[in-house]
Symmetry: C2
Subunit: 157 residues, 2 copies
Amino acid sequence: MRRSEQKQVEPDLGILAARTLFGFQRELFTRLAAQGHPRLRPRHGAVLAYLDADGSRATDLAAQSGQHKQVIGTLVDELVALGYVERQPDPADRRAKLVVPTEKGLDHMARSDAIVAEVESAHAAAVGEQAYAAFKQVFAQVAERQAGGGVSPDEAT
Amino acid sequence: MRRSEQKQVEPDLGILAARTLFGFQRELFTRLAAQGHPRLRPRHGAVLAYLDADGSRATDLAAQSGQHKQVIGTLVDELVALGYVERQPDPADRRAKLVVPTEKGLDHMARSDAIVAEVESAHAAAVGEQAYAAFKQVFAQVAERQAGGGVSPDEAT
């Protein structure tokens, strides 16, 4: 069997993760665009996916998304310009700033979480609830193992 | 529970796919760099992951990777400059060109395939062979469903 056919018949972990991630982002951001959020891009997910309603520190967003703090800073700048978040002083630490969602940001977060839940319910219905739950459980272990590589994310661009 | 904690405890499909893909790429390209291929970047995987030893058409590489033909063209230009592939006339169609790996390209492909197999064996040993096989089977279905979104990949950048 040719290599290209082998990869189609038995796709490796990287191929499956790439297809799933890019398809998932496409579906999520297409649906968000139709619901009044046309200017967001998948890269903004590094901030918006982890943002808390009462605000988050940039360092926490960096740790949660696996992105460098500099990258998060740039994304926050973009999201401020687009009207999704504001930088506010952190009441717990006068020297620190919090990234706080605006009304528009909160609307996005609620819609995004609902769409993600719908997408996953549809997968679970298609492959079977039990099989999907088992899949997610192993996926969490694999992702944890794979994320603990010890090399900084900016080397992987 | 705060939204950020919820995402850590029960990461959604997109979060798991992103962690797995970026961790996988980091591991693969770090190990390839140590084995004499330091100048390749994960984006080159769209060509190199699917390339056949006797050459592939750019249109096939585009279809297999889900990237636009223009993107593949740019990546092939970069890989030609790095000495990994050459463009040769397609013996089956005088108007078409084949992307053919050089010796260096073939060395990369063999090493890459071996590393990927090792990475997956390690995951399987950690989570259990049967559980990993079941995970890959459901993952293939989810990736297939997710890839069939019907929106072009360049909208998802």
